[in-house]
Assembly symmetry: none
Homo-oligomer: 429 residues x 2
C-alpha cells in the first residue's frame, strides 16, 4: 500500500473532477456531483483546474484520465463503478496505474452483507465490484455496493467514487475529506456563508445591499434566486479558517442589519430545519391541514430527523368531502365562501390543531393549476392559515409558476408564517 500523503503534502494542491456516464453526455441526467465536489474542495482551499465529462467509453475515459492525471495532482472521478459491463472505471484506473485488478475478499463480504440485510440472494454480477487495482486504498461505501478506491498514477493520485449522489457524498465526507484536509496545512482557505431569505424579491433584496456588492471585494457578495427564496452568498479568502470566519462574521453582521426579518437560516438550513429547531426549543407541537400543497408541508417537516417530537399529524384534504369529513369544515362555509378562501384556511388550521391536540395548526388552500382558475380566483391564489389557542389568522398570496412551483411557494409561505409565529413565543429549557 502506498501513502497518499507522500505525494502531495506540503505543496499547494490542485485537483480536477472527471464525471463518467453516457447519460450525462446525452443530457439525460444533470451532473450535480461535480458542482458539489467543487464546493467541498473550495472549502478545503484546494484549487480546481477543470471538470471533464465523458461517456461510458473505455478509450475516451482513458484519454480524459490520462490528461487529468498529467496536469492535476488529485483527480476525482464519479460514476462507472456499477456491476454491469458498461461500468469500466475500475478497468481503466487499473490500466493507468499499471496494476492488475484483484478480487478483494473484504469488499466481497460487504457486498454480500448488503443483500443479506435486504433478505435477497447476492447476484453474481455484483461481485464484479469486488475487483480493484492491486495496492489501491479502499474508500468504503456504507450506503451501497460499489466501493471506491485511490490509486497512484505517475506522481499524482486518482480517487474513484460512484455516481449515485448520496453514496458519493457520504464517501467523500467519511474518507476523502479527512485525507484531503491533511494535504494543505498552510494553504489558502476559501469559505462561503449563505444567508437564506424568503418573502423578499431578488430586486428588493438587491437594493438593500447594492453598496455592499460594489465595495466589498473580500468577502465578495452574490445574490442567487431559487423557487423557495433568495440566497445572499459571501465568499472569503484567507490564510486560515479562523481568519476567513472573521471576514465572514464582519460582513455578515452588516447583512443581518439590512434584511433582519427575511433571513431564516444559514448555509444548509432550510425552512423546515429552522422551524423544527424553533418548535423544539419552545416545546411546541404542530399539525398541518393541506389542500393545494397536498402533503408537501407534512413531507418537508418529517424530512427532519427527530421531527416526531413536534409534528403530531397532517391531513391532505384535497377534496371538499375530505375537508368536511376529516376536519369538520362546514359544507355551507365551503359553498358560501369557496374552498379557496380565507375562512376555509382558518377553519382548517383551527380544526387541525384541535383535532390533533397540537399547540399550533397551519393550513393551505389554493389553486395550484394548471386548470381550475377563474378570473376572480386565478391559478396561483393561495390562502395560508395559522391557529393557536389565542388567535386564528390567514394570509393571501398570488404566486406565479407551474403547479410544482406554486405548491413549493405555498408550502414555503406556510412554514414562514409558522416561523414568524414561533419568534414571538418564549424559549423553554
Amino acid at each position: 500500500m502506498f501513502s497518499v500523503y507522500s505525494v502531495v503534502k506540503g505543496c499547494c494542491v490542485n485537483a480536477e473532477i472527471v464525471a463518467i456516464g453516457t447519460e450525462l453526455l446525452l443530457g439525460q441526467n444533470l451532473d450535480t456531483n461535480s458542482s458539489w465536489l467543487a464546493q467541498q474542495l473550495a472549502l478545503l482551499g484546494i484549487d480546481l483546474f477543470a471538470f471533464q465529462t465523458v461517456g461510458d467509453n473505455e478509450k475516451r475515459i482513458e484519454a480524459a484520465l490520462k490528461l487529468a492525471c498529467e496536469r492535476s495532482q488529485f483527480v476525482i472521478t464519479t460514476g462507472g463503478l456499477g456491476p454491469t459491463v458498461d461500468d469500466v472505471t475500475r478497468k481503466v484506473a487499473g490500466r493507468l496505474a499499471q496494476k492488475q485488478l484483484v478480487y478483494n475478499e473484504t469488499i466481497a463480504k460487504q457486498i454480500e452483507e448488503v443483500f443479506t440485510k435486504a433478505g435477497k440472494p447476492c447476484p453474481k454480477v455484483n461481485l464484479n465490484q469486488a475487483f480493484i487495482p492491486q495496492g489501491a486504498t479502499l474508500i468504503p461505501n456504507a450506503m451501497g455496493t460499489a466501493p471506491g478506491f485511490i490509486v497512484k498514477i505517475g506522481k499524482n493520485q486518482l480517487a474513484c467514487l460512484p455516481g449515485v449522489p448520496f453514496e458519493m457524498k457520504a464517501m467523500f465526507e467519511n474518507t476523502l475529506r479527512p485525507l484531503l484536509k491533511t494535504l494543505s496545512p498552510s494553504g489558502t482557505v476559501i469559505k462561503s456563508r449563505v444567508f437564506r431569505t424568503t418573502g423578499i424579491s431578488e430586486s428588493l433584496l438587491n437594493e438593500k445591499i447594492l453598496d455592499l456588492f460594489e465595495k466589498s471585494t473580500n468577502p465578495t457578495v452574490a445574490v442567487l434566486a431559487h423557487a423557495d427564496g433568495v440566497d445572499i452568498r459571501l465568499t472569503a479568502k484567507a490564510p486560515s479558517d479562523a481568519e476567513a470566519n472573521n471576514l465572514l462574521d464582519g460582513l455578515g453582521k452588516t447583512i443581518m442589519t439590512r434584511v433582519p426579518n427575511f433571513i431564516y437560516g444559514l448555509d444548509q438550513d432550510n425552512l423546515e430545519t429552522s422551524v423544527g429547531r424553533m418548535l423544539m426549543t419552545r416545546q411546541m407541537t404542530v399539525a398541518v391541514a393541506e389542500s393545494c400543497t397536498g402533503g408537501l408541508i407534512s413531507h418537508r417537516i418529517t424530512q427532519v430527523p427527530g421531527s416526531s417530537a413536534y409534528f403530531l399529524a397532517g391531513w391532505a384534504v384535497y377534496s371538499n368531502r375530505a375537508k368536511s369529513a376529516s376536519l369538520g369544515v362546514d359544507p355551507k362555509l365551503i359553498e358560501g365562501k369557496g374552498a379557496v378562501s380565507a375562512q376555509v384556511a382558518e377553519e382548517l388550521a383551527r380544526n387541525a390543531r384541535e383535532k390533533s391536540g397540537a399547540n399550533i395548526g397551519i393550513s393551505t388552500t389554493g389553486i395550484a393549476g394548471p386548470t381550475g382558475g377563474t378570473p376572480e380566483k386565478p391559478v396561483g391564489l393561495v390562502f395560508v392559515g395559522l391557529s393557536d389557542e389565542q388567535k386564528t389568522q390567514s394570509l393571501e398570496f398570488r404566486f406565479s409558476g407551474n403547479r410544482e412551483t406554486i405548491k413549493m411557494k405555498a408550502s414555503q409561505a406556510a412554514l414562514e408564517l409558522l416561523r414568524r409565529h414561533c419568534l414571538k413565543l418564549p424559549l423553554k429549557d
Copy 2:
C-alpha cells in the same frame, strides 16, 4: 467571411462543449447549459465527445479550447462573453483563430439600444462586447448585450455563446440549430427511449438482459440506477426519425418480454403519473395513510395535474396518538404488535379507505431513521399496506440509505403496490 458549411458538411459531425466560468469551478453555480446543449445536439444526431469546464483563466481556457478544436469538429463554448476584464473568451478565440479582434459597429449599436430601451445610459465597459474576431460569423443575441460568434480554428469550428441560460438557449435555437441541421442533411438522428422500472435490483435486471448489452450495438443498451428504481435506456442512431423509432420499437419489444412486471413507464413517466393514468382509466379513487413517509405519497400523487379526480384524502399519522385519533387504529394493536407492523399497516390502509370513501386505501409504517431502530426492527424496516373492498394486504421491506432515501423508497413501494393492484382491475370507458 468563410462558410461554416464547407468544413463539416457531408461527414458525421462530432462536437464538444466547453463551459467557462470560475463560479462553476467553485461549485457556486450549477452548469445546466451543457446538459441542455447535449440534449439538443443528440436530437440533431451529432455525437458529443465530452464536456469540459474551466475557470475565467486565459491560459486554461486556451488549453481547453485547443484540445477541443483538435479532436472535435464543432466546439461550443458558454460563458466569458461579458463586458468585464474577467471575460476573456473573445480574446482567446481570436488568438486561436489567428485573427485580430475588431470593433463591430452593428453590435455596438445593438448594445446601446438595449440600454436606451431600459432608459439607462450605456456604460462604456459594455462596448467591449462589440469586439469580435475578424471575419467571424455573428450569432445575434436578442435577449442581452453579449453577442456570440463562430470562428474557424484549423479545420474545425468554434461557436461562442454567453453563459446566461435564456440568452444562450435563444441564440442556439435561432442561429446555431438551423446551421447545425444543414451539416447533416442526410444526417443521423440519435434517439433514446427509457424504460423505467421499480422493485428490481440493478444486478438482477442486468442478468435478465445481459445478452442484449453484448449483442446489441444499435440501439445500444444501458442500465442506470436511481433511488426510486432502475432505468433501461436504449439509444438508436438512424438516418431518420422514423427509422430510429423502428429500431427502438424492435428492441423495446424484447425488453418488455424480459422484465414485463417491473416496467411502469417510459421516458419522462414517473410512478405517480403512471398510477394516475391507471386510476383515471379504471375510474378508481384512492386515499393514503402515511406514517414513515410523512406526507410524501400524498405530495407525489398531487403533483400530477388533474389528481383531484382520483385522490380523495391523505393522512400523515406520524404519532401513535394520530394513528388512533384520526384513523381509529386500536391503541392495543399498536401496543401489542408495535406501530411498525404488518397489522398496523393493514389497519391504516383499511381505515383510510373506509373513512374517505375511496375505492382503495394505501399505507406505510416504518422506521426512516437515523434513530429509532432496534435489533428486531432496524432503520429501513417498512410495511406497506393496500386495502380494497375484497381484501386487505401488506408487504414488508428492508431499505438501505439515509432518512430521505428510505422515505423515497417506501413511497415508491406503496405506489408500485397500487400500480400492480390497478393492473388487475378492468378498464372503464
